[in-house]
Amino acid sequence: MRLINQRLSPPALLALKLAPFVLLIVAYLAGSAARLTDNPADKLLPALSSMATAIDLMAFTPDRRTGEYLLWTDTAASLQRLGAGLGISTALALVLGIAIGIFPAIRALLGPFVGFVAMVPPLALLPVLFIMLGLGEISKIALIVIGIAPIMIRDMAQRVLDLPREQIVKAETLSANSWLVVWRVVLPQVLPRLIVSLRLQLGAAFLFLIAAEAISSDSGLGYRIFLVRRYLSMDIIFPYVAWITFLAAMADYGLDRLRRWLFPWSEMEVGK
């Protein structure tokens, strides 16, 4: 049997899927043990027990200063920013993406400009951004939006352009005006793609969130990581990174389920 036609048993599948993760953990433990033998105070690859202590401290012990559980307040703060940033980007992508994709005049007006903005490295313009929007929540959300919205807008516009022209024409023969083409034909068909696009940008969104929180903030996952980075407190950083990864993976998974649930037909089209 050709390798491409291999049919694996469920236990073999599970074993394969887990293998790299197990390997990673083993490699970490070995590296950590080796470094700790050299220097028992080594902070780079702390032992699991130190991480457990740190997790207990951050997640289950109230902070001395504020009485809050830091991990949870950080998470809440970050997720709020992330949610707002992703929400605004998604709305922009939907409105502008569809408009650019379907209206020739708007495509001419905004297409090249959005393409240009998508190429600007937003981190380099942070000072201007902060001056214009202040240092509050708005600028952090804005950084996420500026970072991911242009890419999502372009993706949406491309998806609209990819719709077979025949479909649009068909809708017109079914008496659709421009608005109805958008509302009944284009919008429902690009919504599943919007979710896919959002999933693809989750990593970037977290990146910009962390960058924004690193500049000015007093809570948030990125804030904490940068705060303790000065002390190389990897016993806190690793759990935070793992937690961020977990959150992102959950969001990714949840969005995919959402898409399947809202748009059952989009699943059927795959491979058609």
């Binding site: 220097n39 902070k43 001395r64 000072p127 001056i131 940068f226 002390y231």
Partner: protein, 330 residues
């Protein structure tokens, strides 16, 4: 013009942690209320960004070092007055080598530091002390939060940085501290500066800042349970604990007594320091791109002495507000 709402920016550093503590515990609001004004205190993780924001006009006051006050806001045309001279570094900044005995062993090595920062200045002074110059080393710009990790890589053999990274690096087995700011005492000064225009129109703002500062510093330096409590809180806020924070304080010459701060600011040594600083900045091309000499920007010292261009005074040191604190006149 007069106004009643003021924005103050501070960044996380041992000498400036009191600002965050004062905000958290209501000291700020108390003093602001006393003068019938509002003071918004914003914490920055990123020191440079806080100065940039101040320079761009988003803030009325900011915590900054003497050198950066000259090179960023003053060089950016923002007339700036040092309201409070909070402390000077006495060991908070240090030069480390891997495998070396003294600063002279730095010759020919790449040196990781934040370029154009006080670390760079410290390096210049350190090299100077043994008759070397920057041409004898190779400077590599490195971001401050990454210093501790960076020091543990093989290609890094020399590093200049500040606390809390200094304390972390000092604990590493192969780190040798060959020079630190206690050898150039009083040259790296931590300030609270304010926009001169705003300050002149609203002296109450300056008074409130001084009031906040000395109340908080008095508390944190006191050997009482409340003082310990305050130090623990500041330690936590800066990402460490009380012991770690106290260790950093030990390397900081904090002026808890306003009279001492006044004496330091009014002494002639300040002029010498600022002369060294502006020469350094001019050499690095940081005094403004068009500067033809280190006289391009005027620095006014207490008592009216002016270093540099008297028609272009952009940085002013004053003892007025600290004096009021010393006199109990706030």
């Amino acid at each position: 013009q007069e106004k009643t709402e003021f924005n103050v920016a501070w960044s996380i550093y041992v000498g400036w942690m009191p600002w965050g503590y004062a905000e958290d515990t209501g000291i700020v609001d108390r003093w602001a209320d006393q003068y019938g004004i509002t003071i918004n205190v914003t914490q920055f993780n990123d020191y440079v960004e806080s100065i940039n924001q101040y320079t761009a006009g988003a803030y009325d006051a900011v915590t900054v070092t003497n050198m950066d006050a000259l090179s960023i806001p003053a060089a950016g045309g923002v007339d700036t007055t040092a309201v409070i001279v909070g402390d000077f570094s006495a060991g908070n900044d240090a030069v480390f080598l891997k495998g070396g005995e003294s600063i002279a062993d730095i010759v020919g090595r790449p040196v990781n530091l934040v370029e154009f920062s006080v670390s760079h200045y410290l390096l210049a002074r350190a090299l100077d002390s043994v008759g070397l110059s920057e041409r004898d080393v190779n400077v590599i710009n490195t971001a401050d939060p990454d210093m501790v990790g960076a020091f543990q890589t093989a290609d890094v053999t020399a590093m200049v940085t500040w606390n809390p990274m200094v304390a972390e690096i000092a604990m590493l087995p192969d780190a040798v501290q060959v020079f630190d700011s206690s050898m150039i005492p009083g040259e790296i000064i931590d300030l609270m500066v304010a926009n001169t225009e705003v300050l002149d129109a609203n002296p109450d703002f300056g008074r409130a800042l001084a009031g906040i500062w000395y109340e908080t510093v008095t508390l944190m330096t006191s050997d009482t349970p409340e003082g310990a409590e305050a130090r623990a809180a500041m330690g936590a806020a800066s990402g460490t604990d009380q012991a770690g924070f106290e260790a950093q304080m030990a390397a900081t010459e904090l002026f808890a007594d306003p009279a001492a701060a006044v004496a330091f600011t009014a002494s002639a040594d300040l002029a010498d320091t600022m002369n060294l600083v502006r020469a350094f900045l001019f050499d690095k091309g940081l005094l403004t791109p068009t500067a033809t000499s280190d006289n391009a920007i005027g620095i006014e010292l207490p008592g009216g002495t002016v270093l540099g261009d008297a028609d272009n005074i952009k940085l002013r040191f004053t003892t007025d507000y600290m004096q009021m604190a010393a006199d109990g006149a706030l």
